[in-house]
């Protein structure tokens, strides 16, 4: 049996067309986009095109796109950039307990620099409460960072409503859309967000590139200093080949539209129905309606995450616990802990996430194999 890859939320395969789009920028078009000669012009042109494609994909202007090394840098740039730029107006930050560590660990660092951070709790479905957000807002709040779709459980936050709520407040609104981008339509004006993080390798582009959308009237301090690239907002010679691939991945995503959401939803339902038919007990984690279509998080009572994941790997099924954990980490997921406290299900959860190349046959096979393993382990 071939390997079945159900970990697209961790990273996704690079689309063959993306590879093809990158090759010329690794071979003949190697120029530095800042150079004044022919070679520079070729890559500068690509950069401008990519910026336009990226901007159009979220209803933004090209000037509001800053290419980064990926989602982590985009999140860090949003938080540190805002904190540095606005520290004279305020030192209060609001985020949630279920953010990616790229946000949470950046916030922890800012706390040690004297900033105050409110970590909003979530309910059992993983959603924050708008009224709690409203109550947490202060005159000195400078940034609110709430992720769009959660990478572990898929739960979506009501970003448009938060944007609405923050419209009259001085705080800038950042959303980490790394997981939502590509599977949900996103328009920064409808959502009323000021900053939005996107990563290329989650949408079948290459690793090492992403972008941060920065609303034009918002000023951030840069993380990197040096040349005048990215309008002085991110120094360093651009990762041209990766940006060429990213551009292609965005174009493919836009051509394909959002029909894949329905396909992924069908995968989810198929897996769940196979689990039900097999008679194994399971608990679904995360909001079921407002959710990322490609993420399914399930706890199997009595089966520890680390044992199930290894068994799945040995059965050639790649799934995940949802958070990248270090060598034998005991810490249950911070997301599931925020949702369920100390309940056992936080240590029994597995994430399946769908994407390019997955077929219904694979999903059935994987679900049946999973059910078989769980049945053996639940005894």
């Amino acid at each position: 049996m071939d390997y079945i890859y159900l970990d697209h939320a961790a990273t996704s395969p690079v689309h063959p067309d993306v590879v093809e789009a990158m090759v010329p920028y690794l071979t003949e078009h190697f120029g530095n986009p800042s150079s004044i000669h022919h070679f520079g012009r070729k890559t500068r042109q690509l950069l401008d095109e990519a910026r336009l494609v990226a901007a159009q994909s979220i209803g933004a202007t090209p000037n509001s796109i800053v290419f980064t090394s990926g989602g982590t840098e985009a999140d860090n740039a949003a938080l540190f950039g805002t904190a540095l730029a606005k520290k004279e107006t305020g030192r209060h930050i609001i985020t949630s307990q279920i953010e990616h560590h790229a946000v949470l660990h950046a916030c922890a660092r800012l706390e040690s620099e004297g900033f105050e951070v409110t970590y909003l709790p979530v309910d059992e479905t993983g959603r924050i409460s708008l009224s709690e957000l409203k109550a947490a807002l202060r005159p000195d709040t400078i940034i609110v960072s709430i992720m769009y779709g959660n990478n572990e459980v898929g739960t979506l936050q009501d970003i448009a409503a938060i944007g609405e709520l923050l419209e009259a407040h001085q705080a800038v609104f950042h959303t980490d859309a790394v997981q939502a981008y590509g599977v949900l339509p996103i328009d920064v004006n409808e959502l009323k967000v000021d900053l939005l993080s996107v990563s290329s390798h989650k949408i079948n582009g290459p690793k090492g590139v992403g972008f941060l959308y920065i609303r034009e009237e918002v000023a951030l301090d840069p993380l990197l200093y040096g040349g005048e690239q990215e309008r002085k907002r991110r120094a360093g010679t651009e990762n041209v080949a990766a940006i060429a691939g990213f551009k292609q991945a965005i174009s493919i995503m836009r051509e394909e539209g959002m029909e894949k959401a329905a396909r992924y939803e069908a995968y989810k339902q198929k897996m769940l129905s196979i689990f039900t038919e097999a008679g194994i007990t399971f608990l679904r984690n995360g909001e079921q309606e407002h959710t990322l279509p490609h993420v399914l998080n399930v706890s199997f009572p009595g089966v520890k995450t680390e044992i199930l994941l290894v068994n799945l790997d040995l059965a050639r099924i790649a799934a995940s616990s949802g958070s990248a954990c270090t060598a034998g980490s005991l810490e249950p997921s911070h997301v599931l802990t925020a949702m369920f406290g100390k309940q056992n299900r936080t240590k029994e959860a597995v994430r399946f996430s769908f994407g390019l190349h997955n077929t219904m046959e694979e999903i059935e096979q994987a679900a049946q194999e999973t059910a078989k393993i769980v049945k053996r382990l639940q005894k």
Binding site: I307, D313, L314, A327, G328
Partner: protein
Amino acid sequence: MSALSKKSPADTRVVIGMSGGVDSSVAALLLKQQGYDVIGIFMKNWDDTDEFGVCTATEDYNDVIAVANQIGIPYYAVNFEKEYWDKVFTYFLEEYKAGRTPNPDVMCNKEIKFKAFLDHAMSLGADYVATGHYARIGEDEEGLVTMLRGVDANKDQTYFLNQLSQDQISKVLFPIGELNKPEIRKIAEEAGLATAKKKDSTGICFIGERDFKEFLSNYLPAKPGNMTTLDGAVKGKHDGLMYYTIGQRHGLGIGGSGEPWFVVGKDLASNTLYVEQGFDHDSLYSDRLIAEEPSWLSSKPLEGSKKCTAKFRYRQPDKGVTVTTMEDGRLSVVFDEPQRAITPGQAVVFYDGDVCLGGATIDEVFKNDTRISYL
């Protein structure tokens, strides 16, 4: 091995515990070369960081990853910190509190490596678990699985494995038991394994290279007290009874003329450390011990008496003994010759030639049919 012959190596899944050291690296390599379906697993049993804040286990796991990739086997990590704390470390502290000298490695093998880890391996569909211990697996005439000393007499680790049951040992492979350390190093170097030149770990795993006294003082309050002879003559101060073991010479700080001083006993109630002069002081010698919680590799309790050899400490030469199961289930062990520095809390391990029969924990020590009260 009869059990092994039923399945071809390719259909036999062996889960090997890999520590990131050279022994388990070579053990994994040998299994792979023999054609088994090998899976490497790193056990994280203790949470610790070095002076740079780097988790020491992470460094070892990185070595496991490098070696597993070189050999071409999948690798995973499993966390037994809770099990280790509950079953090994708690026991370790309790024994010290009781004034005894525990053997955490024996307990770790019994409760972690050949219980929690074995269970984990079985949940991954393992037919066998393997470790890089210096010991061998055999079979007796009744078809029971036996455990033999490793060929390298210097490295033999059966002492630490004495508590394993027939159930446990029949699921175990010791791939390096037929080899000696220089051969292991040579195999590792020839294969270019990342751990070929890594130095051997020393000391108790969770303490590592650190100062034992300082480590223990983090967990148990040290009560300084008097150091006296058995007759009550005060010879100095001790830093806390738990820091000393029977027969110890160093660190007493007793000056003066004559032969060096040795720890010969402890009294918990009066917090006194007993010392006497001379390596061969009479008070260090005994002729019988009683050991508790016996465990036999055959899983059959010993009936009647048996003449065999025994080790009272790791790396000590075997001594002739006669073992008898007492009515209360404990063992009475009579020595052929008087023995020096028998230490409560340590393991007494029995051998019949190269076969390790089992062992027990030393509880009481006797001389001339009288219990030695100062131990």
